[in-house]
């Protein structure tokens, strides 16, 4: 094998260098190849590093702009004040109502998306005949192709009126409806990644379980799922991040009213919805109110970061 490669390399090298001498040809060829390699490595490094640079840039802007905000509002007020009224004459900047709105809509969404996504993934990976899978999988993934603004109006115009038949006195704008629809939107993120993780479990492990006399259900839940736990955790984390960061559905259907409550039937505003509201021009640029979106953005960033770190930790813990 090796001698042949050397001869080919030598010929190519001498062709490139335009020299007949074989040994020189090899040297030139190897040098050229080293150069190409190092250029390629540099380009790839730059591509990989760009994500770090961009993240650092975002963090820097958030920190810098938040600093302006915090020179007017104390961090203690920001974290403990229970009112968020930047538009009022008596302006309060307590982030808690927005955090509550974000967490409640996220919790409702996850309450829908995690069980549904998991069940769909287990069904597709362990139970569904090939033909059924070929229909359900793309249909599920289509859910994530629907624009979120369409989901927002779906929540407002269809889900809320439907819920009003079940939940008495449900206001037109509420977190329940927005959260449910957000959950539906997130299902394919959870199911698709979870299914990939489940299908990656070696057949040998399933055969081991079936060989002991286990049923499909027992094999799926006792052997396959525990083996796929790290991939499924990644799917869940993506779903959570998606729910925390979702903007349009909650802006349209949850009502843009900061409201410190954990009752999902209430209207409320999430951090993301508030940022949209201000960006649309309710507050003059440069005012404290305007600067507040950076503080809100930094809070959001820290929340998703916390979930990602938690997810990373869990994955490491569960990895065998």
């Amino acid at each position: 094998m090796k001698p042949t490669a050397t001869v080919v390399a030598a010929d190519a090298g001498s062709l490139l260098a335009g020299k007949p001498a074989r040994s020189d040809g090899i040297t030139a060829f190897v040098a050229r190849r080293r150069f190409v390699n190092s250029v390629a490595a540099t380009i790839m490094f730059a591509a990989a590093a760009s994500s770090i640079v961009i993240t650092c840039g975002i963090v820097a802007i958030l920190t810098f702009e938040s600093a302006t905000f915090f020179s007017h509002v104390s961090l203690l007020d920001f974290l403990t004040d229970t009112m968020w009224t930047p538009l009022f004459a008596d302006a309060h900047f307590g982030i808690l109502p927005l955090v509550a709105g974000t967490l409640v809509t996220t919790a409702v969404a996850l309450f829908i998306a995690l069980p549904m996504g998991t069940i769909i993934a287990v069904y597709l990976s362990e139970f569904a005949p090939h033909k059924v899978r070929e229909v359900i999988k793309p249909a599920t993934e289509l859910l994530s192709a629907v624009p979120t603004v369409v989901y927002g109006y779906f929540a407002l115009q269809f889900v809320t009126p439907a819920l009003q038949h079940v939940v008495p006195d449900l206001p037109t704008f509420n977190m329940l409806s927005a959260g449910i629809v957000m959950g539906i939107m997130i299902i394919p993120y959870v199911s698709s990644l979870s299914e990939d993780a489940l299908r990656a479990v070696p057949m040998l492990l399933r055969e081991g379980s079936y060989g002991m006399g286990a049923s499909r259900i027992q094999t799926a839940f006792k052997v396959v799922m525990p083996s796929a736990v790290s991939g499924m955790a990644a799917a869940y984390i993506l779903g959570i991040s998606r729910a925390i960061g979702e903007t349009m559905i909650v802006a349209v259907a949850a009502g843009m009213q900061p409201n410190l409550t954990i009752d999902p039937r209430q209207p409320a505003e999430t951090i993301t919805a508030y940022i949209v509201q201000v960006s649309l021009g309710d507050l003059p640029h440069g005012s404290v109110g305007y600067q507040s979106i950076f503080a809100a953005g930094a809070t959001l960033f820290l929340m998703t970061l916390a979930f990602n770190v938690l997810g990373h930790y869990l994955r490491k813990r569960f990895r065998h």
Partner: protein, 254 residues
């Protein structure tokens, strides 16, 4: 020939339209080891996997003929027989160790829990018996709650044998149980097989002729989906009737 534990009668097996086994007839002696040998693709693993109907997991597979399990006389490959019941009665050990992502204890208790045993003392006792009978108890008794993935490959395979034995099956299937192990770990498994023979009928697929001659009492040579020759291991290795068998066991082909 001693009493039979199982008997294969005119068994054919199909993957879709491809016939993998042709009219196999093979008796399996109780409390003895029967080795299935033959070149790759001859159908020996396919035959072994008929015994616990593991083929049922895949679409478009079909059995024709009988595998009679004694003393009940049930035909294992009959559609009316529940494969889950057969798998609880017939244990299997695979080519590569395949412990579950659970603790060592829970791996061995898996089959017992499937049978509905929940009593902690009983589980503990039966896990200990299984691990002792597979000669791994002394090595791992202090770390029963550790993940089975912390064990070495050879230990994992013995754990998988313990897992099969714990459920107290009527016979054991082994599909090249040493193919992923080094010679020392293989030797331990072979010793174990000789021990297990006292209690079970063992059917083992192997590529290793020395292993077949050392560890088995009977040997069946298969070629191209057919059973070419069956006899005592001594006869097959020293006095084979067929030219193909002789060529294969002496290493001239395959």
């Amino acid at each position: 020939m001693p009493p039979c534990k199982a008997e294969v009668k005119k068994l054919s097996f199909f993957y879709g339209t491809m016939q993998a086994l042709h009219q196999i007839d093979l008796p399996l002696a109780d409390k003895h080891v029967t080795a299935l040998v033959g070149p790759s693709g001859c159908g020996k693993s396919t035959l072994l996997r008929c015994f616990n109907r593991i083929h049922d997991l895949y679409p478009n597979t079909r059995y024709d003929g009988e595998i009679i399990l004694y003393p009940s006389g049930a035909n294992i490959v009959d559609k009316s027989i529940d494969p889950i019941e057969m798998r609880m009665r017939i244990g299997m050990v695979f080519q590569k160790p395949n412990p579950f992502p659970k603790s060592i204890f829970e791996n061995v208790a898996y089959g017992l829990r499937l049978k509905g045993i929940t009593n902690k003392t009983e589980l503990k006792d039966r896990v200990e018996v299984a691990l002792t009978s597979t000669a791994i108890w002394e090595e791992i008794k202090d770390r029963l709650n550790k993940s089975a993935y912390e064990l070495s490959g050879g230990q994992q395979q013995r754990l998988c044998i313990a897992r099969a034995v714990a459920a107290e099956p009527e016979m054991l299937l082994m599909d090249e149980p040493c193919s992923a192990l080094d010679p020392i770990a293989s030797a331990k498994i072979e010793d174990l097989i000789r021990e297990l023979r006292k209690k079970y009928a063992v059917l083992i697929v192997t590529h290793n002729m020395q292993q077949a001659s050392r560890a088995s009492d009977y040997t069946a040579f298969m070629y191209l989906g057919r059973l070419v020759e069956f006899g005592t291991t001594t006869d097959i290795f020293t006095n084979p009737k067929s030219k193909e068998t002789e060529d294969y066991v002496t290493g001239r082909f395959g």
